[in-house]
């Protein structure tokens, strides 16, 4: 398994601002993922963060809105840009250890006013 931490754990932001979420893993992993989860809902994959290359975004998500960095094999950031109340959600970092299991961080709870 992997131990994953996220910062901040929660934040309240004003519309039009940006927030950068950090994800740190206790071991080197090839694949890191960013998900969004509306309260009580399922998870939607935003993008796959690849070390040494640009992130791969899912349909409906664009780099200008959700820029991602992956400077090394243990760290990634997700920025939520030009926020609106519709961006209020839980943002989850996840890592894949091998070809099978994904493990998740504790999440960042974002409220945009």
């Amino acid at each position: 398994s992997a131990v994953i931490s996220q910062k901040p754990s929660r934040d309240i932001c004003q519309r039009g601002t940006s927030l950068t979420i950090q994800c740190q893993v206790d071991s080197q992993v090839t694949m890191m993922f960013w998900y969004r989860q509306q309260p009580g809902q399922s998870l939607t994959l935003i993008a796959t963060a690849n070390q040494g290359s640009e992130a791969t975004y899912e349909s409906g998500f664009v780099i200008d809105k959700f820029p991602i960095s992956r400077p090394n094999l243990t760290f990634s950031t997700l920025t939520v840009s030009n926020m609106s109340p519709e961006d209020s959600s839980i943002y989850l970092c996840s890592v894949a250890t091998g070809l099978e299991t994904q493990y998740f961080g504790p999440g960042t709870r974002l409220l945009v006013l």
Partner: protein, 116 residues
């Protein structure tokens, strides 16, 4: 295309009774199957997975799940429910035929409520 269905939004069980949370899936090849649990204000915790071998897999907190290929199901079970099992449960599937590039697809989630 991969998909996973959790037909019940909520399952209510009395403490001490057996519980079942249902999951069916659709993949083009052979699946990897997973169950995750999410407690209030927490991230997802991995419970168990089916990769190959015995159709009955055992996981954390006394949970188990049975892979049924003919019914394309992977129901989560526990013989005796605890109030502390109350949480949101997610079934997930991944097509093993597409190496590490294939994504895990999550079901819509089932809220399990255990009454004392």
């Amino acid at each position: 295309a991969q998909s996973v269905a959790q037909p019940e939004d909520q399952v209510n069980v009395a403490e001490g009774n057996p519980l079942t949370v249902k999951c069916t899936y659709s993949v083009s090849g052979n699946p990897y199957l997973f169950w995750y649990v999410q407690y209030p204000n927490r991230g997802l915790q991995f419970l168990l997975k089916y990769i190959t071998g015995d159709n009955l897999v055992k996981g954390s907190y006394g949970f188990e799940a049975e892979f049924n290929k003919s019914q394309t199901s992977f129901h989560l079970k526990k013989p005796s429910a605890l109030v502390s099992d109350s949480a949101l449960y997610f079934c997930a599937v991944r097509d093993r035929g597409n190496s590490s590039a294939s994504k895990i697809i999550f079901g819509s989630g089932t809220r399990l409520s255990i009454r004392p």
